[in-house]
Structure formats: C-alpha cells, structure tokens
C-alpha cells in the first residue's frame, strides 16, 4: 500500500513543513553570517589581495554549527519524534528531509558568500568556483552535523557539547573545500580536492541519516 512514493510524499511533507517553520523563525544564523562577512570586509586592508576563500568557508561552517544544535531537540521535547516513529515511514526519511530543508534554507547565505567574494575583487570564475564548492560542502556539513545533533537531542544545554562533537566532522570539509575553492573554474571539476569533497558528500548522504536515526531511537529509548 505504501511504497516508495508513499515515503516520498512523507519526505516532501516534512521538508515543506520545516521550510515553512524556518521561514517564520528569526533567520538569525543567516544575519550573523552576513554581518561576519561584512566585518571581514572592514577588517582587511583596502589594498589587500582578494580574500582567501578559506576565510569565507570558515565563516559559513561556523554559522552552520550553532544552527545544528537544536535540530531535533524541539521535536523530541514536544513528542513529534515519538509520533513519527509510530508511522510506517522510516525515521531516516524524516531526518533526511529535515537536513535537506536546512540546506535549502542556507541557499541565500551561500549565494551571498559568492557575491561577497566577487565584491572583494575575486574574478568571476573564482567566485563561481567558490559557490560550486560551497553547494556540496554545506550539504555535507549539514548532513554530518545531523549526527551530533541527534546524539545530544535529549540533553538540555548541550550547545557546547554539540559544537565540540561536530567540529571534527567539519574539518575535512574545511580542508578540501577551501583547497578546491582556490582553484579556477576550468580546473575545478577534475581537481582531487573537489572530488574528495564530493566523495565526502556521497558518504555523508548515505550514512548520516542512518546513523542519526539510530542515535534518535536511542535518545527516545
């Protein structure tokens, strides 16, 4: 009765609900990142070279980090997770939908980061390379961040612990992502650092929802 398409409908329902809830939120993470990017522009010397993409990567990842913290905590506290677990659709779909919603919500931020690098004097091809590295990088970061968020979902005031657990997951992304972003557009798609970034994305896409679901089930038990 409920096959793959049934689960897909479930997936879309969670995704659109989360986007709607986030659109009504304060959007403080995005504002924080934008102000950090602007501060970066003010802090540099006027005649400095175009900004190294590594700094932009750092700002983006540091913005994503605190936003992951309360990802599942509310749903655990208000009983929505328990309810979802009584439905025939697997918990993994619920988690994947929530994480994907985060990524979609981060799109304005990623675009702003690319435009920002353009406005600081990077060439168009460099900014495009940065944007195309940030797209898979941010998705992988959000997927990997889902695991610590699920592990600490039941703990109150887990902010510091979540950040501490998430940071090691973000480091490979930071290393390969910023390395790939320094390449020009025509070299990007054959560069090892970019391919490794995509490999990290594939790995986290396949494993993160399963691991996070296991952690959430454990949190409820």
């Amino acid at each position: 009765m409920i096959g793959f398409f049934g689960f897909f409908g479930f997936f879309l329902a969670v995704l659109s609900r989360d986007l709607r809830v986030m659109a009504r939120g304060s959007g403080s993470a995005t504002l924080f990142a934008l102000s950090a990017l602007l501060a970066l522009a003010l802090a540099r010397a006027p005649d400095a070279a175009p900004e190294d993409p590594g700094l932009i990567w750092l700002i983006i990842l540091l913005t994503l980090l605190p936003a992951m913290d309360r990802l599942f905590a509310e749903e655990i506290a208000d009983g929505a997770c328990a309810l979802i677990m009584t439905l025939p659709a697997p918990l993994e779909f619920f988690i994947l939908a929530k994480l994907l919603a985060r990524w979609i919500a981060a799109q304005p931020l990623l675009l702003a980061a690319a435009l920002f690098s353009l406005s600081l004097g990077s060439s168009f091809s460099q900014s495009a390379a940065l944007y195309f590295c940030l797209l898979p990088g941010a998705l992988a970061a959000i997927l990997l961040g889902g695991l610590p968020a699920a592990l600490t979902a039941r703990l109150s005031r887990a902010g510091a612990l979540t950040a501490f657990l998430t940071a090691p997951f973000f480091l490979p992304l930071l290393i390969f992502g910023s390395a790939a972003s320094r390449l020009s557009w025509d070299l990007l798609f054959s560069a090892p650092s970019f391919l490794l970034l995509l490999a990290l994305l594939c790995l986290s896409l396949a494993l993160a929802p399963i691991a996070a679901a296991a952690a959430l089930r454990n949190a409820l038990a």
Partner: protein
C-alpha cells in the same frame, strides 16, 4: 493490508527498565496480555509507575528490556505531549499530519484537515498559530489526528488531560464508535478512562508493585 481491523495485539513477558542510568530497577516485568478486535485495555497505576513507558513500548517507540510485542498493523498514538509546532497555524498543522498519514493531492489533504478541524472544534481558529491556543485547544488538536484515517489500534496516553466536558464527551463517543467497529484501544489515565466507553468491558493492567501485571 496492514490496516486490517482483524488484527490483534499480543504482549509477551514484557519488562522495562526505569532508564539507562537505573537499568537494574524494572518498572514492570512478566507482563503478558492479548487484545482482540473491539477490546480495550486500561493501563492504570500511580505517577511514575511506568504507564507512559508501557504505552511507548506497545507503540514501538521504545524497545522493551525483555519480551516482545506482536502487532503488525498501523496505529494511532496520542502521547502525553501534543507533538505540535507553535509556529504553524491549526490548518497547516493538520494538513501536515494529513500528509504524514498518507493523504496525497490538494483536495484529499484539505478534506481530511477540514474533518479534523471540525472534530477539534477549531474551525474559527484555523489561521491562528498553535502557540496561541489554550492547553485544552491544543489537546483537541492533537486528538483530532484520530479522525484523519482509520487505524485498528489506538494508544492514548492521558487523552483527557485539560479537556472540558464537551470535548471529553466527544472523545468518548469517538472511542465508542472505534471499538464498535472492531478497533482496539489502549489507554492510560488516572482511573477516569474507565468511563470512556461505558458498557464495553475493559482488560486492565495495573502497574504498581513490581510485576503485579495483567
């Protein structure tokens, strides 16, 4: 079909620990019972005796420390918490659930949401954010999931908390209809659930001193 009203539920030798930090202390053990179509089970006991835990185990949310629950159908679970998001309106909340319960297409979703909104008696507050509702109104909204789609097993945890008389009567009528058509009900409450379905005999589980079950 998994939504078959001829399903039965069987619990065998259930035991559950109080928590991971207190794994030695069992809330209940050797709990064995069967529930047939049209039957209800009242779970009673004092605060902290494990009623909510037992319901969560039966609903498949928690794993039991020992024993097994045999039930392979669909169920409605209305827990202690309402599972509501304050930022959404009543209408959006119900449309979201309708989709979770398998409704597809704009017409079907709005029809089901409308039916639930009418049951919750919140038609005039459809566009209000859930965060502005009173405790009783939130409870009504949570319970309105029950009318969205038929499910053979209902598991209700303190369903009547903060409900007024009218809402309580409405819920009891709904429960009677559910049992009359062959549904099963497992309910926990502070003894008041007994009046939920007068005339329909209930099996009882009393959780109290260790293992005093069935």
């Amino acid at each position: 079909m998994p939504n078959d009203y001829a399903k039965r539920l069987r619990a065998e030798n259930l035991a559950c620990a109080a928590g991971r930090l207190d794994a030695g202390r069992l809330l209940f053990e050797n709990l064995t019972f069967a529930l047939l179509p049209g039957e209800r089970l009242d779970v009673s006991g004092r605060n902290g005796s494990g009623k909510t835990t037992l319901l969560a185990v039966l609903a498949g949310i928690r794993a039991a420390s020992q024993g097994r629950v045999h039930y392979d159908g669909l169920l409605h679970y209305v827990g202690h918490e309402n599972a509501l998001c304050d930022a959404l309106s009543c209408e959006e909340t119900l449309a979201f659930w309708a989709r979770l319960y398998g409704a597809r297409g704009r017409d079907e979703i709005s029809e089901i949401a409308e039916k639930s909104l009418a049951f919750a008696d919140l038609l005039s507050l459809r566009r209000s954010a859930v965060g502005f509702l009173s405790a009783g109104q939130k409870r009504r909204l949570a319970l309105s999931r029950l009318v969205m789609t038929p499910r053979p097993l209902w598991i209700l945890d303190e369903a009547e908390q903060s409900l007024d008389h009218e809402a309580r009567d409405k819920l009891r009528a709904l429960i009677r209809r559910h049992l009359a058509r062959g549904g099963m009900l497992i309910a926990a409450g502070h003894g008041k659930t007994a009046s939920a379905a007068k005339g329909i005999p209930a099996k009882r589980v009393f959780l109290g001193e260790r293992g005093e079950g069935a």
